[in-house]
C-alpha cells in the first residue's frame, strides 16, 4: 500500500517551480496508471514513490515505511524502470547488468546465477546473456532494464514511460510483460492502450492530481483536458 499525504514538491533551480501541488492519494490496487501532459508532474510523482525524490512538503509511505526516513528500505520494495534504458543499464554485458542488483544481498554465486538465468529466460534475453548491452535493440534494452529490476523481486514496480522510445511492436512486448507481472504496478505512460485492464488511472495536470477513476473515465477526462 502506498500513501501519499499532502505532498507538494518545489524545485529551487532555475527559479522556484512547483511541480506537484497538494497531492493526497492512497494506492492499493494491483494496476494503477498515471497519465498527463508533459510537465504535468507525473514523473516527479513516480519518483516520489521509491524515494528518488523526497517531497518538499507532506509524506509518502510504502507499506508503512516513510520514503524520507527509510529511503533504502523503500527502494528494496519498490523497483523503478526509467524511460531511457541506456541510462539504467550499468554493466557492460547483459548478464552482468541483471546480476548487478543482486550484489550485497548475501546470495551465493550459484544462487545469483540461477536467478539471473531465470530472469533472462523470462524476458527472452537468454541468447544475449554475454552480449554487450549497448548492442541490443531499443526493445531488448528496455526488456533488460525490466529484467534487471525484477530480478531483485520488488513487491511494487514503478515504470516511468517505459514505452515512449519504442516502436509499436516493442511497446506491446513490454506491455505484455508488464501485464503478466504479479507485482503491484504503477505505470506512467502516454500509450493509453496499455491501460486496458487497469484498476485505476490518475490524471495529472499542471502539478495537480485532477482526476482519479477507472481507465475509460480517466482517459476520457484526459482527452478533454488536451482539447
Amino acid at each position: 500500500m502506498i500513501d501519499v499525504v499532502g505532498v507538494s514538491h518545489v524545485y529551487d533551480a532555475p527559479g522556484r517551480r512547483t511541480v506537484l501541488q497538494d497531492v493526497t492519494v492512497r494506492m492499493t490496487e494491483r494496476r494503477i496508471g498515471i497519465i498527463g501532459a508533459n510537465g504535468s508532474g507525473k514523473s516527479t510523482f513516480a519518483r516520489l514513490l521509491n524515494g528518488l525524490v523526497v517531497p518538499t512538503y507532506g509524506t509518502v509511505s510504502v507499506n508503512g515505511l516513510d520514503t524520507r526516513a527509510d529511503g533504502r528500505a523503500v527502494r528494496k520494495q519498490v523497483g523503478f524502470c526509467f524511460t531511457n534504458p541506456d541510462a539504467q543499464i550499468v554493466m557492460p554485458t547483459v548478464r552482468e547488468d541483471v546480476a548487478f542488483g543482486l550484489r550485497r544481498r548475501g546470495l551465493t554465486k550459484e544462487e545469483v546465477a540461477v536467478r539471473v538465468d531465470s530472469a533472462l529466460a523470462r524476458f527472452d534475453l537468454a541468447d544475449h546473456a554475454d552480449h554487450p548491452a549497448h548492442l541490443l535493440s531499443g526493445g531488448q534494452k528496455q526488456l533488460l532494464a525490466l529484467a534487471s529490476v525484477l530480478v531483485t523481486e520488488p513487491s511494487i514496480l514503478v515504470l516511468d514511460e517505459p514505452t515512449t522510445l519504442l516502436d509499436l511492436r516493442n511497446a506491446q512486448r513490454v506491455g505484455d510483460h508488464v501485464a503478466a507481472l504479479e507485482q503491484q504496478v504503477l505505470l506512467v505512460t502516454h500509450h493509453l492502450d496499455l491501460l486496458d485492464g487497469f484498476d485505476r488511472v490518475l490524471v495529472f495536470d499542471e502539478a495537480r492530481l485532477v482526476h482519479d477513476a477507472p481507465p475509460d473515465e480517466a482517459v476520457e477526462h484526459y482527452r478533454k483536458l488536451m482539447r
Partner: protein, 200 residues
C-alpha cells in the same frame, strides 16, 4: 558501434584463467616494459601476445580492432622518436605501447567486467582500513567501461544530427551537444544507480 575491449564468451585456457591472474600478468608486463630497449625484444613481446590471442581463439579482426584507435598516436609518437632518437627507439617505444594495449585488450576480451571488478575489489580490500570502499572503486571501473559505449553512441547521434543540419564544419555544434548530453546521461545514471540500490 565499437566492439573494442569487450568480453567475448569462450572456454579457452585464457578464458579460464582467473581474472586476477590475468590482471597481475598485465601489471607485470607494464612494469617489465621499461626494461625493453631492443627491437628483437619487442618482436618477442608481439610473439607472446599473438600466442595469447591464438590460445584465446580470438578472431584476428578483433585483435586489429584493439589496435586501430591507437594508429594516430603511434604514428605521432613514432615520428617524434624517429626524428629525435633514431629508428630503433621509435620501434621500441611504439612497439611496447602497441603490445601492452593488445595485451590489455586480450584481458578484457577474455574476462567478464564483473570478474575484473571482483579481482580489483579483492586487491583493494586493505583500503577499507582507510575508510575507502573497494566496491565503489570497482563500480567506478565498471561504469567507466560501460560509459565509453554510451558516449560513443551519443557522439554518433550528435554527428548525424549535425550532418542533417549541414553543420559538419562546426566543432562547437559538435562539442556542445555532446558535452551536454553526456552530462545529462551522468545525471540519469546517478538516479538509476540510487534506484538500483548501488548505495546500499
Amino acid at each position: 558501434m565499437s566492439t573494442l575491449g569487450l568480453y567475448r564468451p569462450g572456454a579457452s585456457p585464457v578464458h579460464r584463467l582467473p581474472a586476477g591472474v590475468k590482471l597481475a600478468g598485465l601489471v607485470a608486463a607494464g612494469a617489465g616494459s621499461v626494461l625493453v630497449d631492443r627491437p628483437w625484444q619487442v618482436a618477442a613481446a608481439f610473439v607472446i601476445v599473438a600466442l595469447g590471442y591464438l590460445a584465446a581463439r580470438v578472431p584476428l579482426r578483433l585483435l586489429l580492432a584493439q589496435a586501430r584507435p591507437l594508429l594516430w598516436v603511434l604514428l605521432i609518437v613514432g615520428a617524434f622518436h624517429l626524428l629525435v632518437n633514431g629508428w630503433q627507439r621509435a620501434v621500441v617505444v611504439t612497439g611496447v605501447i602497441l603490445a601492452l594495449v593488445l595485451l590489455a585488450g586480450l584481458v578484457t576480451l577474455t574476462s567478464r567486467t564483473s570478474e575484473l571488478v571482483d579481482a580489483l575489489v579483492t586487491v583493494l580490500a586493505p583500503l577499507r582500513r582507510l575508510g575507502i570502499d573497494p566496491q565503489r572503486i570497482g563500480l567506478l571501473l565498471a561504469l567507466a567501461i560501460r560509459s565509453v559505449f554510451v558516449v560513443l553512441q551519443i557522439a554518433e547521434e550528435v554527428r548525424d544530427a549535425q550532418r542533417a543540419r549541414g553543420l559538419t564544419a562546426s566543432p562547437r555544434a559538435y562539442a556542445v551537444p555532446l558535452i551536454i548530453r553526456s552530462l545529462r546521461h551522468a545525471d540519469e545514471l546517478g538516479e538509476a544507480l540510487v534506484a538500483r540500490g548501488a548505495d546500499d
